[in-house]
């Protein structure tokens, strides 16, 4: 049984249909990635899973339990940690308080130990423990957002564009940490990325979204070698016979 399963989800922003029937599965301890251009609906899928947005149709099941109609705080309580797009930290709380808020749903005695674990993974945060999170650099804020979700002891982590606005070095570092968390802490990941190379290198299985639909799915290994993905997401293109590209070339799924 899959850890998370979406069946035919439809989500609207007012009258606008953002998700047009998406079904996907995330298996235990995999890294699953969703690729797609701007406005494809990737973020909306994650928001629908963590119930920040309401699905009009379809169902979301987590560990066999239907979570479609739950409140967002109930979903978090079940062990779904969401790292939202764009470093959504609590700007006036200190780094320490931000992380402790991540453990809001927990009341066990290991919170302190987990705090140290997060600082272990992110030494850059440990230096500024008592600093207000709003003063951190972009990379640190992204690390804080990931660390905060980690404090939930999540079974599943939803990562929304963790590389957004970060330098290539930091992107690489974040990717390494995502991989380590997956291996060492056995956190299943659902990763949304525009940085297709990073996502495909990290992921086990991948979905490609366009206009609110899933148009392609396969293992990341095979996706990496698919011509469409190469051309449209990885920017590798074969030259035409006369050294020109055919601009009207269509994707195979259209």
């Amino acid at each position: 049984m899959a850890l998370l399963e979406l069946r035919n989800i439809e989500t609207y922003y007012g009258p606008i249909m953002a998700i047009r029937g998406v079904s996907l599965k995330v298996d235990q301890s995999d890294i699953v990635t969703i690729l797609g251009a701007n406005g494809a609906g990737k973020t909306t899928v994650l928001k629908t899973i963590s119930a920040a947005m309401e699905a009009q149709k379809g169902s979301v099941t987590f560990e066999g339990v239907d979570i479609t109609a739950l409140d967002p705080d109930r979903v978090a309580r079940l062990g779904i940690g969401h790292v939202p797009e764009g470093r959504e930290v609590f700007p006036f709380l200190s780094v320490d308080e931000n992380l402790r808020m991540g453990a809001y749903t927990r009341s066990d005695a290991d919170i302190g130990a987990d705090l140290e674990l997060v600082y272990d993974y992110f030494p850059a945060l440990a230096e500024d423990r008592s600093l207000a999170a709003g003063f951190l650099s972009g990379g640190q804020q992204q690390m804080l957002a990931i660390g905060r979700a980690l404090m939930l002891r999540p079974r599943l982590m939803l990562l929304d564009e963790p590389s957004l606005g970060l330098s290539p070095i930091l992107t690489h570092e974040i990717a390494g940490i995502v991989k380590r968390l997956n291996e060492e802490q056995e956190v299943t990941m659902l990763l949304v990325e525009q940085n297709a190379k990073m996502a495909l290198d990290l992921g086990d299985y991948g979905y490609v979204m366009e206009n609110g639909r899933i148009v392609m799915e396969d293992t990341c290994q095979r996706l990496k070698n698919a011509t469409d993905i190469k051309e449209f997401y990885l920017g590798m293109k074969d030259q035409g016979v006369r050294g020109r590209r055919r601009w009207k070339q269509r994707k195979t799924w259209r």
Partner: protein, 318 residues
């Protein structure tokens, strides 16, 4: 020598008079500050402005009035408590805070939660309408005549080196200080208090870490209603209580803006500023001006420093 002596006494007299006005002003300012605190708390957490805040103060005062009568009657049968002066007041005070907190929760659940997502203007009209309803209901239950709350602080004074200080003024200042201290500790050190800060700073992230944001909103309304009630009970010995006493909520709103809408210390400082200005204006400037001095200060503030005394640093993300 006699001339010098006369001069000195006059100066001493002026200083005394100034101090006397200052005490009145500070205690009145504390009341404005407490109501302003309610405005700011609700605004920071839910981005709604509750124009019924002053009327919640009025309602709190009337509930205390009835509870004091009830406890007086009850304690007549209890030998020890009946003998203690102010026992029924103390119990009624705590009881009122609880009743008003519950009222705040009911209000949020029943009236304001369905308004989430509606335009701010609609919420604003709703709270103004709520004020009308509260005034009418209070008038129907307790009558429109001013009443005196049976407070142990009423009327008593003590002499401090020629300075006449009323117990009620001391009670207001001490009560406000205690409430502010309690709120500070609550928001700074308790888990739910920090969670309330978190929810007001970034609602989406609060959802994602599992903070029950709806319950937090209800709690904010409960706290605001309880603070308003405390203000109503504290101010009752100074002014009589009547269904229209909530109109000082408008001045408190001015105080909240002067303090920088969105800052809790700012609300208290803004309240003090307006409260202190009033008695001095009343004494030294033509009559009637003291009533508008709050708004003159507000206008001056908006021209000189529109972000208020303690501007809220957060820029709204678009």
């Amino acid at each position: 020598m006699p001339r010098v002596f006369a001069c000195r006494t006059r100066r001493a007299h002026t200083i005394l008079e100034t101090l006397q006005l200052l005490i009145i002003g500070i205690s009145q300012g504390c009341v404005y500050g407490l109501i302003a605190l309610g405005f700011v708390l609700i605004y920071k957490a839910t981005e709604m402005v509750n124009f019924a805040q002053g009327d919640m103060m009025m309602l709190g005062a009337f509930i205390a009035f009835s509870l004091i009568e009830a406890f007086d009657w009850l304690f007549a049968f209890v030998p020890v408590l009946g003998a203690l002066p102010g026992a029924s007041f103390a119990f009624a005070f705590l009881g009122t805070l609880l009743v008003m907190a519950a009222f705040g929760v009911v209000l949020e659940r029943g009236v304001l939660r369905p308004m989430i997502g509606e335009p701010p203007f609609a919420v604003l009209m709703l709270t103004i309408g709520l004020g009308f309803v509260l005034r009418a209901v209070a008038g129907a239950i307790w009558g429109n005549q001013p009443r005196a709350l049976d407070s142990p602080f009423a009327g008593g004074t003590f002499d401090l080196g020629g300075l006449i200080i009323g117990y009620e003024n001391v009670a207001i200042v001490v009560g406000t200080a205690l409430l502010c201290g309690a709120l500070y500790l609550f928001f700074r050190f308790t888990r739910i208090g920090i969670a309330m800060q978190a929810a007001s700073q970034n609602q989406l992230a609060a959802f994602y870490v599992g903070i029950p944001v709806k319950r937090v909103f209800a709690l904010v309304w409960a706290i605001s209603a309880a603070i308003a009630a405390a203000a109503g009970i504290l101010v009752a010995p100074v002014n009589l209580i009547d269904p229209l006493m909530g109109f000082i909520g408008i001045k408190a709103f001015a105080a909240a803006i002067v303090g920088g809408f969105g800052s809790l210390p700012g609300a208290i400082v803004g309240g003090l500023l307006i409260g202190i200005a009033e008695p001095f204006v009343a004494l030294h400037l033509p009559p009637g001006l003291s009533e508008v001095s709050a708004f003159v200060i507000l206008l001056a503030m908006l021209v000189v420093r529109p972000q208020g005394i303690f501007p809220s640093l957060q820029q709204k993300k678009v």
